[in-house]
């Protein structure tokens, strides 16, 4: 049984078919990338899988359970977390607090204990903060723990979002263009981080434009174009697939593809 099973999901906005009959699956510990030209429907697919949109057709199963259209906070309960392409950090909170929000489900506290400042409430907070520091160390942000999140650089914020997503100890982590807008050094750090996370058993679904990174770390690639799946397979298979090359168009793409095919 796969960890994530996507069967025939579709969604339209107005008259536009953003995603049409897409199916694929992810197994435990795998890194699967979704690629495709701009406007192919990758982020929309992501949003359907993470509870932001509800698929109009098709079904999604997480660890065997039917979760189609389930809202994001319930998916989080089932071990699915994500990062955002355009960043959704809590800019008024500190870096540490941002990550600590990821432990919300673990805290599972009583409102009364919180209102009365009972020791149990304080212990919970302390534990969340200690674990958050550990996560910050993992992503290399421990020195920024007390800073206001809004003051960090773009690359650092991307890592912060990953730390926050990891706090949920997810079975499946959705990364929405984690390397977008990052320079070469930042991209390398993200790549290392992603590989590390996958090694620890978390499955990863990645949307990314950086082809070199995608080719290097993915076990499996799904290619979308105009909302439809046009190919899937290992990096080598996908890169020499005629429809994929056609979708990306242009001499540059064909050249790059040929170069990889020769690797």
């Amino acid at each position: 049984m796969s960890l994530l099973d996507v069967k025939g999901v579709s969604i339209s906005f107005g008259g536009v078919r953003a995603v049409q009959d897409v199916s694929f699956s992810i197994d435990k510990g795998q890194i699967v990338s979704v690629i495709g030209p701009n406007g192919a429907g990758k982020t929309t697919l992501f949003n359907m899988l993470s509870g932001v949109y509800s698929p109009q057709q098709g079904e999604v199963r997480l660890a065997g359970e039917l979760v189609t259209g389930m809202p994001a906070h319930l998916l989080a309960r089932r071990g699915l977390s994500r990062t955002f392409q355009n960043l959704q950090i809590f800019s008024a909170m500190t870096v540490l607090e941002n990550v600590a929000t990821g432990f919300h489900l673990q805290e599972n506290g009583s409102l009364l204990a919180d209102l009365l400042g009972l020791p149990s409430a304080r212990r919970r907070m302390k534990r969340s903060e200690e674990q958050s520091m550990e996560l910050l160390k993992t992503v290399g942000l421990e020195r920024a723990a007390g800073f206001e999140a809004g003051s960090l650089s773009y690359g650092a914020l991307k890592r912060l979002e990953i730390a926050r997503a990891l706090a949920l100890q997810p079975q499946l982590l959705l990364l929405d263009e984690p390397a977008a807008g990052c320079n070469a050094v930042e991209t390398e750090e993200i790549e290392k981080l992603v590989a590390q996370v996958a090694k620890s058993g978390t499955a990863i679904l990645l949307v990314e434009h950086d082809m070199k990174m995608v080719m290097r770390i993915s076990n499996h690639i799904v290619v979308l174009d105009h909302g439809e799946k046009i190919a899937e397979g290992t990096p080598a298979e996908v890169v020499s697939h005629p429809r994929v090359i056609e979708a990306y168009l242009g001499v540059a793409a064909t050249e790059e593809a040929t170069r990889y095919a020769e690797c």
């Binding site: 906005f13 982020t43 949003n47 932001v52 355009n86 959704q88």
Partner: protein, 290 residues
């Protein structure tokens, strides 16, 4: 049946006023994404300034013109001094600013004029006209006709004149409008002046029937807002429809349920629209992009 007719007529009259207030809301909302809670004060100012000028001896037409012009100026000042400096502020701030402005205007009126009820004579007398078993005041006909005239005039303005189309363009996309050379600051000032003038006119038309005083603004603003929301925020056709429907609902509530709770009709409408039909009768559904 004649009782129902009576409620219908009074509902249309008051509905016409709400439609005008809603139209004022709509124009400013379209131009600046701000729901101007001070809109009701424009209605109050129209009535109060006219009443004061008239009481001071001015002929009615002059008093009314003065009121409209003054209120338009106040509208422009509101934009210049309170809204423009807060450009880009979060919605919460804008709400507070426009409420603050409305309270400020009300307080100023209370000090400069007084807290009494005021009136001036109806435009063509007070002899009720009999129609279909009910009576209607001539002034009510002025109100309804005036409102329809304003709506038609504005429709022509927005669709047939260059300035009008510039306003629509600015409402649609401010940056694009700037880029094609439209003076958006002028357009904003114009929108506020127009809304204020329309509000003032509404106040002038209705005062001979319902009288006016310094504190009618907030209730008027709420009802205008309810009407705008009912019709679909930002849609002028909706403002007209929403205003008339609200007026009818209010009159029917007053007639058949309880006159004490007639104001509640507007609030119930607001809550009902918000919960069941947030886009109103003619509005568009908006989705949030992540």
């Amino acid at each position: 049946m004649s009782e129902f007719m009576q409620f219908l007529l009074s509902g249309l009259t008051v509905g016409a006023v709400y439609a005008l207030v809603a139209l004022g809301f709509t124009i400013i909302y379209n131009a600046s994404d701000v729901a101007n809670f001070a809109q009701g004060e424009f209605v109050m100012l129209g009535g109060m300034i006219t009443a004061s000028a008239y009481a001071a001896g001015a002929p009615l037409l002059l008093a009314a013109t003065l009121a409209i012009v003054l209120t338009a100026v106040i509208g422009i000042l509101l934009n210049k001094l309170a809204i423009e400096p807060a450009r880009g502020a979060p919605v919460a701030s804008l709400i507070i600013i426009t409420i603050g402005a409305s309270i400020f205007i009300r307080g100023l009126t209370q000090i400069l004029l007084d807290k009494e009820l005021h009136r001036f004579p109806a435009f063509s007398g007070d002899d009720p006209i009999h129609v279909l078993g009910a009576t209607i005041l001539p002034q009510s006909l002025w109100v309804i006709a005036g409102a329809l005239l304003v709506f038609v005039a504005l429709w022509l303005f927005f669709t047939r004149t260059l300035t009008g189309r510039a306003v629509l363009a600015t409402a649609n996309n401010r940056i694009a409008a700037l880029l094609v050379g439209i003076n958006t600051r002028y357009i904003m000032a114009l929108s506020f002046a127009l809304s204020a003038a329309i509000g003032a006119l509404a106040g002038i038309l209705i005062t001979p029937i319902t009288l006016t005083s310094y504190d009618i603004g907030m209730t008027m603003a709420l009802k205008g807002f309810a009407a705008a929301m009912l019709g679909g925020m930002g849609n002028p056709k909706g403002a007209l429809a929403g205003g008339l429907v609200l007026g009818l609902l209010e009159a029917l509530t007053a007639g058949y349920l309880s006159s004490q709770y007639k104001d509640a009709a507007a609030f119930v409408v607001i809550l009902a629209v918000l919960f069941f039909m947030p886009q109103g009768m003619f509005g568009r559904k908006v989705a949030e992009r992540v």
